[in-house]
Amino acid sequence: MISQVFILSSKGDHLIYKDFRGQAGNDIVSIFYEKVTALTEDQPPVVMNHKDLYFLHIRQGGLYWVATTTVGSSPFAIIEFLNRLAALVKDYCGSLSEKSVQMNFALIYELLDEIVDYGYIQTMSSDVLKNFIQTEAVTSRPFSLFDLSNVGLFGAETQQSKVAPSSAATRPIQSSREQGGKSEIFVDVIERMTVVIGSNGVLMKADVEGEIRVKCYMPSCSEMRIGLNEEFSIGKSQLRGYGAAVRVDECSFHQAVRLDEFDSHRILRLCPSQGEQTVMQYQLSDDLPSALPFRLFPTIERDNGGRLLMYMKLRCDLPPKSAAINVCATIPVPKGSVSLSQELSSPDQSAELKPQSRAVVWQIARFAGGTQLSALFKLEVPSLSSASMLEVGPVGLSFELPKITATGLQIRFLRLSPVQPGPSQRWVRYVTHSDSYTIRI
């Protein structure tokens, strides 16, 4: 049971406030914000309480999404509710930001009104909601296919010649209704990697969490068939085919997915509802089919002048035609590091010392597969001792690998039946993100 829901900006502005039960005062919002700001950390605990009222919040799009409730409520249900609420708002408003929420507050009030009644969740399915929601979304920026300034481009498997800009999927779902023509469907395969590499270069842990997301802008879509790799197998025992099998440990599906052709042909059948939904989730531990995308070869020493020298060689082991983007290595350095001088192997990299987070941040906008970059960092550390070397590392790497899946999962085909009248576009995109990619030194 939810007493109130409110959305705050990171600065504490009240964006949305809805009281479902009328049991608590209006000052609750400011009490929450005081609690958040009273903590020195920028990451307050998920659950906080004020007398017997409990606040649960999530952070998304730089906003606080807060629900108040009583102690007996299920945290799983409320966190899931807030996550879905954020996802719905994103579907309806196009993107999640302080600005979009502010501009679409009427729409969000309407959503909340339909989703929750008297603190009880009624429905969160976008199929049902679309019949009730009347307000139009307001977007800040007119949608344009020519907006190619954004870097996050993913290739589209179905239409090799065309590339959809990454902003293509960040528009409100309802706009298709009156724009008429643009009926599009996006199928995204998104994987998150968690990797720990030991100081001797041995892989200690590798996890991949993946999901297939469908974002549908078609006002009425009948049936969609998604074909996965034929040699896709689940679990350790069952292997199919002779080629490079794609294997995952565990796999679960959205309840709307019909699996009658899955066992024989690895085909998922579903009738997508408008908006975004996760069709399939899977995970794989420890046994990656391909090489790790990055290897780091660090050399760390002190020179006679009392400076710390860090020589980093970073190798990208992706296939030569692909590339990683937005690569960022965070190298923790000893406390009290004063200044940094650097020698980078190419001009498109940058590095900077961040004293408050005690780290050197090395950024590479684009890193082609099969190449190697190196950097020499010279750090001025006044109180350098042999023990401070212990403080260097582990290096955290964050990156994005467009067009690549770590598990090798591919979508063979994407068919809509019956064939849509009028122009319809189908996009398939792959991307692998780093969830946590740690290399110990």
Binding site: N49, S73, S74, V196, M204, E391
Partner: protein, 823 residues
């Protein structure tokens, strides 16, 4: 954030709203109303516009209607009279042909929260229950709950309650779930909606139709149901099995709660459910939403209380991501500590070591204390890491390390040598109060082994006038006193200065009193002082345990899937990290009655005839530990570390078998085997056994968890017989209690298989569990019938038959007392 000049805005809005030109243009009118709502949600008080907004309510534009309703519902309570005007247009909307308009009107009518309007609302609500459209029925059902809460005193019509019950059969699943919710609220005083067999089965059969929110609600309500037979219970459980492994964490958690509450009398079933649910919970731990991850990790901590080894192989899933927030990291580290075993300890320590230099000081300190907790079982590796960290010379790390070492030494006295060596030079880096307090405590207690201790204290005593923290000053006083007892020559002068300062100069009464107490104590003589100040150096309650005791599921089942596990700060085990360990020592509280019987009857029995018998009946541990001077007394010091124990034990066992079964005369040691008949001891918890042994100064070093077979306990003690004033005659006794229970086991298995054939549930793991329970139950009975004894093997060095005999009496009495306790 309220703007300045809010009034100005309100005035402008009013002008716009009442402008006929605006009113005639629907788009402009709607935009003006939008502006009002926006101002409202920014926190400005726009209640002054109520009458204008009431007028705006009469429109055909649904969007405008919705906006106005948002406004009206927020301010209705401030303007009850004006709200009457709205009711008419709302009632008219309730007759609208469009079901969406009907449901909207009905919902907002009940949301106005005005007791004075109840009479106008009842009629449309009654009609709403029989509406054709499901969305209207949904709203109407909840409307009754709202109405009831507006006037909790007035009885709601029994006819309505009956109608709500009948709507549980509504074809729309949301209406059904809403009926449950409404009845729960309306019938709160009677304990909520009646959950009988037909309703339960109806709800269970329709569970698949509901969405996840409905499923959670139904599962929650069903927790109150108690199946009438075991068959029915298993039917329900097998029906719910697919929900238990649902990919949606809310459903999975709600199902597990239901499992735990329905099968609370069958612990084996609960344990099987926990094992089954660990997969989906682990998946939730890797969820993309970090809040969800946090919730899952917190609940895994609960599970681990009952099944400590559950996720041992999955420990890598609890390694922290570098970008994860501190609150998740902290919980993950707590889980990692729980999962340590011989195979993964190296990997886990390696991982934790990496966190110790984290930028976030809280994370770093939590990692250090996690290493300390692992150090209780794997002290050498952990001390090596901790000592290495001191080399970093960073105040927050050093402080955490010193505190961790203090806590570790308190539990594992065998670590003290390494710790004493490591402490040299720490005082220069330490800045914060807790760290310095910990250092002072260690200097006081182990001062004789730390060569620089007096100099460290001297620096602090010289600066005591500028010391702000009272805690440090008190700790300093005690530490100096303790050091004086073992190194008087070096300390006397500074102790004098410190006492003088405390008594003459300080204004704090607490401090002054303490100093006066010490001063007078010194007057009484050095022996008295020693007795008061040199108490225990280690926690008497904890030996080295093989495996943590598993707590029953019922202990935490109630708070599963609530906010409690997420909001309680640290787990109970983390508590021993602030202040001196002595101040929060283990109180001898192993079942009050138990300690009484033990200390009064049996100890006196041993010392009968001695003058000191009266003194020994004092049940305080300290009294027993330090002041027994009876003909035979047992003591725990010097401590025997598990390694030493193992070494000695194996060595002597080898000697013994070499010589055959006859009593050994050589090497001046004795080896006897006895049989004690007290089978119920097997069923008493390790804690109470340990506590009982502790009371008579026998240290248990290791034991198997209860109910496992063969059941073993290893223990040791020192006997002391002071005949006169000359050197006491001490011996070391090592012992093993063993119960193989082979005969019982066979009987138990037979019973177990019989059970499994009769079992209705087809799941193998559950059956195995059942067998185990059956075995344990069987054991209980067999124990009483066959009276199989516990084999006691004792090993003494140097040989002293009288002492050994007396020790055996003590041991037998303790075991018998524990047995009778169990009966």
């Amino acid at each position: 954030m309220p703007y300045l000049g809010g009034e100005e805005t309100v005035r402008e809005l009013r002008r716009a709203l009442s402008n006929p030109n605006v009113q005639s243009d629907p788009l402009r009118y709607r935009n003006t109303i939008l502006k009002v709502i926006r101002t409202m949600s920014q926190g400005v008080d726009v209640s002054g516009l109520f009458s204008e907004m009431v007028k705006a309510c009469a429109t055909v534009d649904v969007v405008q209607k919705k906006l106005v309703y948002v406004f009206l519902c927020s301010y209705a309570t401030l303007n009850p009279e004006l709200s009457l005007l709205v009711i008419n247009s709302l009632r008219k909307d309730c007759q609208d042909p469009n079901p969406m308009v009907r449901s909207l009107a009905l919902r907002n009518m009940t949301n106005l929260r005005l007791p004075s309007l109840v009479e106008y609302v009842e009629q449309p609500l009654t009609a709403g229950l029989r509406d054709r459209a499901a969305c209207v029925r949904r709203v109407a059902v909840l409307g009754w709950a709202k109405l009831h809460n507006l006037q909790p005193s007035s009885e709601i019509d029994a006819a309505v309650v009956n109608e709500l019950y009948s709507l549980l059969r509504d074809p729309d699943p949301v209406v059904m779930v809403n009926c449950l919710r409404a009845l729960e609220e309306i019938l709160k005083e009677e304990g909520g909606v009646a959950i009988n067999k037909p309703i339960t089965h109806h709800l269970l059969n329709r569970l698949k139709e509901c969405d996840i929110w409905g499923q959670c609600e139904v599962l929650r309500v069903l927790q109150r149901y108690r199946p009438q037979s075991e068959d029915e219970l298993f039917d329900i459980l097998s029906l719910l099995d697919s929900f238990l492994v649902s990919p949606h964490p809310p459903v999975m958690a709600a199902t597990l709660s239901l499992f735990l509450s329905v099968s609370s009398s069958l612990p084996a079933v609960s344990l099987a459910a926990l094992e089954r649910v660990s997969g989906p919970l682990l998946a939730a731990c890797g969820s993309g939403s970090r809040e969800m991850r946090f919730a899952a990790v917190c609940h895994i901590q609960l599970l681990l209380r009952s099944v400590p080894g559950l996720l041992g192989v999955h420990y890598k899933r609890f390694f922290c991501g570098y970008a994860e927030p501190a609150y998740i990291k902290e919980r993950k580290m707590q889980v990692l500590v729980e999962l340590v075993n011989d195979e993964n300890v190296a990997m886990i320590l390696d991982e934790l070591k990496g966190y110790c230099t984290d930028v976030n000081t809280d994370t770093a300190q939590a990692a250090i204390s996690a290493i300390g907790r692992i150090g209780r079982s794997y002290s050498d590796r952990c001390l090596q890491i901790l000592t290495g960290l001191l080399g970093l010379k960073q105040d927050h790390i050093t402080s955490a390390v010193v505190q961790t070492m203090r806590d570790l030494v308190w539990v594992c006295p065998q670590c003290s040598d390494t710790v004493c060596l490591a402490l040299e030079g720490c005082e220069e880096t330490l800045q914060d109060i807790q760290g310095r307090q910990a250092l002072l405590w260690l200097l006081g207690v182990y001062g004789e082994r730390i060569s620089s201790a007096p100099y460290t204290l001297e620096v602090l005593i010289d600066g005591v006038r500028s010391e702000a923290s009272l805690g440090i000053k008190m700790e300093l006083l005690t530490a100096t006193m303790r050091l004086f007892l073992c190194r008087p020559a070096e300390t006397q002068d500074m102790l004098g200065r410190l006492l003088h300062y405390c008594i003459e100069e300080t204004t704090d009464m607490c401090m002054r009193d303490q100093a006066l107490l010490y001063y007078r104590l010194l007057h009484c003589g050095i022996e008295e002082t020693r007795k008061v100040l040199q108490g225990r150096r280690s926690d008497p309650s904890l030996g080295v345990l093989i495996g943590r005791p598993a707590k029953p599921v019922s202990q935490w089942a109630r708070c599963f899937n609530t906010l409690e596990p997420l909001s309680q700060g640290a787990v109970e085990a983390e508590s021993a990290s602030r202040g001196s360990p002595e101040h929060m020592t283990y109180n001898p509280k192993p079942n009050a009655d138990l300690s009484d019987t033990l200390s009064c009857s049996h100890i006196q029995e041993i010392h009968s005839g001695s003058d000191n018998a009266m003194r020994c009946s004092d049940s305080s541990t300290d009294g027993l530990a330090s002041s027994i001077t009876a003909p035979l007394s047992l003591s725990l010091s010097p401590a025997v570390s598990p390694e030493d124990f193992e070494h000695l034990w194996l060595q002597r066992q080898a000697l013994h078998t070499e010589r055959g079964a006859e009593k050994i005369e050589v090497v001046d040691c004795a080896w006897i085997e006895e049989c004690v008949r007290c089978p119920a001891v097997l069923h008493c918890s390790p804690q109470s056994l340990q506590a009982a042994m502790q009371l008579v100064n026998i240290q248990t070093l290791a034991f198997t968890p209860q109910h496992t077979l063969p059941w073993r306990v290893y223990l040791y003690t020192h006997t002391q017989r002071s005949h006169s004033t000359d050197a006491p005659n001490t011996t070391l006794i090592l012992g093993e209690l063993l119960c193989t229970g082979e005969a019982n086991q066979k009987a138990g298995v037979k019973k177990g298989t019989a059970d499994s054939e009769a079992g209705a549930e087809g799941k193998e793991d559950q059956l195995v569990r059942k067998e185990m329970v059956a075995t344990a139950d069987r054991l209980n009975e067999d124990g009483q019938e066959e009276e199989e004894g516990i084999k006691v093997t004792l090993n003494q060095q140097p040989r002293d038959d009288d002492a050994l005999r007396q020790f055996l009496t003590v041991l037998t009495t303790v075991l018998n007392t524990l047995s009778s306790e169990k009966d």
